[in-house]
């Protein structure tokens, strides 16, 4: 319990720090501190409204407090380009990003961990000689390039999957759930999720394999053999279970770097998620939207990090039990 609370407190601290950096970043950048929230593209009424809501004529530290308060209430300002509240725009993009991210992660890590563990038992075989360099290559390749190749082969050449978007044009659904669970959506999800998965699986695969190889030399594994336990039990129940720990740690450390990659995958496949929204917002100098998208992406990351921390605590009793 204490462990979970500590990790939560830590996450909240990090969230606060990120939010503050965001505040400074967007105020310092466009030059005119008002420009972060107000623009001629908005109506006069809206401009005055935002001015009041965000206290843009107040001193900076007051603006900061107001900013935090607004953030807690979900008020992220008004998008210059779309002239709607930023939160409304983000709301529809968020589920798409979450689904893509989680699907990709789950596939990548289940595949990577199982294959890595299996590969550790296949020392010196052809499988090892082929799979290890292949995994390294996926780690060295630009994520969007992998997407481009998949797109060319499976969408353009074979025509098995659509080439972009999350839903076919003209489709109508009774509710969000229906839309997400529809066959159409899933078909659109396959290639981007696969791209993300292909890109992400290299780390768990290689790390699981190398950790397993080390652990298989550890004393407690030798003891397990002396006890006469079955090879299955030794490899999975003891070795793999211990090998998971560094994989989980590495995952947490790499989240920021690897999941930011959502942005490029969403671009390749025109997937309507937060990443694509961010790119569009930056291109259009739509500061409030860019800020909002960035914030939400950070939030997702921090929450994922917290979940991973808790999972690690559950997996490693040395951390959660004094």
């Amino acid at each position: 319990m204490g462990f979970a609370l500590r990790r939560l407190a830590h996450s909240l601290f990090v969230l606060w720090a990120v939010v503050t950096i965001l505040f400074l970043m967007f105020r310092l950048m466009p030059g005119n501190p008002l420009a972060a929230y107000i623009n001629e593209q908005l109506s006069e009424d809206d401009q005055r409204l935002i001015m009041a809501q965000f206290g843009l004529n107040r001193p900076l530290y007051e603006q900061y407090v107001i900013y935090l308060w607004n953030l807690l209430q979900g008020n992220l300002g008004m998008s210059f380009f779309r002239r709607e509240p930023v939160w409304d725009v983000l709301k529809s993009a968020l589920p798409n990003t979450l689904i893509l991210t989680i699907t990709g992660l789950v596939i990548a890590y289940i595949f990577g961990i199982l294959t890595g563990a299996w590969l550790a038992t296949k020392r010196g075989t052809l499988a090892e000689a082929v799979i290890v360099p292949a995994a390294l290559a996926t780690r060295a390749a630009p994520e969007f390039w992998i997407g481009m190749i998949l797109l060319t082969i499976f969408a353009f050449t074979f025509g098995w999957f659509p080439s972009g978007g999350a839903n076919s044009a003209g489709a109508a659904y009774t509710s969000e759930w229906d839309r997400i669970l529809s066959r159409d959506y899933v078909l659109h999800l396959v290639l981007p999720a696969l791209t993300l998965a292909l890109y992400l699986q290299g780390l768990p695969l290689l790390l699981m394999r190398s950790t397993m190889l080390e652990i298989l030399h550890d004393e407690f594994i030798t003891m397990a053999k002396i006890k006469g336990l079955s090879p299955w039990r030794i490899t999975i129940h003891h070795a793999a279970r211990n090998a998971l720990l560094p994989v989980v740690t590495a995952f947490a450390l790499g989240l920021g770097a690897t999941l930011g990659g959502n942005v490029v995958v969403e671009t390749v496949f025109s997937w309507p998620g937060l990443g694509r929204l961010l790119v569009a917002a930056v291109a259009q100098s739509d500061y409030p939207l860019a800020q909002g998208a960035f914030f939400l992406i950070s939030l997702v990351l921090i929450i994922l990090n917290l979940i991973v921390d808790l999972v690690y605590g559950w997996l490693d009793p040395r951390v959660s039990h004094g």
């Binding site: 550890d218 004393e219 407690f220 030798t222 003891m223 397990a224 053999k225 002396i226 006890k227 006469g228 336990l229 079955s230 039990r233 003891h238 279970r241 211990n242 720990l245 997996l315 490693d316 009793p317 040395r318 039990h321 004094g322």
Partner: protein, 337 residues
């Protein structure tokens, strides 16, 4: 006389190394009487741990048994198919490792690890395993309430007790302890050895205790087997071997404390070091360091000669042992030539 629990006959074990094949164990023979603790003693690299591990059937990847027999309760394990050895693991032959910390899985509770052997190797039900675990903890002097804790929450001495409990879980016929107290500090060493000795007496366990520390052997074992450079150089009852050693090597070592009960005297180190087993010498392996060297010692490898009542020694000058022993007590004998 009951037949011995284990009869090691002419055992040889080879390692594949970058320098070629090394015979770490070369024609080792000794027996373990039923209900006795046999101390297997020797310095690092003499092959004692290799012998111990070979009895469990789990050797290092690069090692293999090159010859000889391991006759356990009348059946040779070396000649038997692997399946039979697997059957016996832990049920008949168990093992207490040197460092329990590294030999316990850090992510599972101690109780779970005890239950694991009881259920998966002992065929007990969960409930039976649970009660047997408590029983085992009591036996080794641990509080059964701590069964739900993790290895890192135990101290070194307690973890060794856990290792002992694990080894005794399935009532094995033979327990092999590999340097069970080496990693502990002196006071705890005594406690653990007491636990081992008491349990052995209560349960009439047959044990092999591997160590490089003669005082440990003196404290608990009934019989001693002394190894040097992959060979057995002397065997016998503990009292006899330590009070009346017949091999120069043993004489040199017991020189350090001629009396079992007094504190350690100045160590008179035996000059030199053991031979490189990648290219073993042709004569007696102890020849380069032996103060009683004869010319034939360098060409003829002495075979182990039985002297009756479980006593044996491998030395050309064994008949003169009493004289040699007297000379060995003078430190001048051991000064390098």
């Amino acid at each position: 006389m009951e037949p011995p629990v284990l009869d090691v006959r002419n055992l040889s074990i080879e390692y594949r190394t970058s320098r070629g094949i090394v015979r770490a164990v070369d024609g080792v023979s000794f027996s373990v009487p039923k209900g006795a603790i046999v101390g297997l003693v020797g310095e690092s690299g003499c092959g004692k741990t290799t012998v111990a591990r070979s009895i469990t059937g789990v050797l290092h990847q690069s090692a293999r048994i090159a010859g000889g027999e391991l006759v356990f309760k009348g059946k040779d394990l070396v000649a038997a198919p692997e399946k039979e050895w697997l059957e016996k693991r832990w049920r008949d032959i168990s093992f207490i490792p040197q460092s329990a910390m590294n030999s316990l899985d850090p992510v599972y509770r101690i109780g779970a690890q005890l239950e694991e052997v009881l259920v998966h190797r002992g065929g007990r039900t969960r409930a039976e395993a649970r009660s047997r675990s408590s029983e085992l903890f009591d036996m080794v002097g641990l509080n059964p309430a701590r069964l739900d804790e993790y290895p890192h929450q135990f101290s070194g001495g307690m973890r060794q007790r856990v290792a002992i409990a694990l080894a005794l879980a399935l009532d094995p016929g033979l327990v092999i302890a590999d340097e069970p107290v080496t990693a502990l500090d002196v006071i705890v060493q005594r406690q653990i050895l007491d636990v081992i000795r008491d349990l052995q007496r209560k349960l009439s366990l047959s044990m092999i205790l591997v160590t490089h520390d003669i005082s440990v052997v003196a404290y608990v074992s009934d019989k001693v087997v002394v190894m040097y450079a992959g060979r057995v150089v002397e065997t016998g009852s503990t009292a006899d071997v330590l009070e009346r050693p017949r091999h120069p090597y043993m004489m040199g070592l017991t020189n350090a404390f001629p009396d079992l009960d007094t504190a350690a005297h100045d160590l008179v180190p035996i000059d030199g070091s053991p031979p490189d087993l990648a290219s073993p010498p042709s004569g007696c392996r102890f020849a380069p360091r032996c103060p009683f060297l004869l010319p034939r010692c360098e060409t003829d490898d002495p075979a182990s000669a039985a002297l009756g009542e479980g006593r044996s020694v491998a030395c050309h000058r064994a008949p003169e042992a009493d004289d040699l022993r007297a000379r060995a007590k003078e430190s001048a004998t051991w000064l390098p030539a």
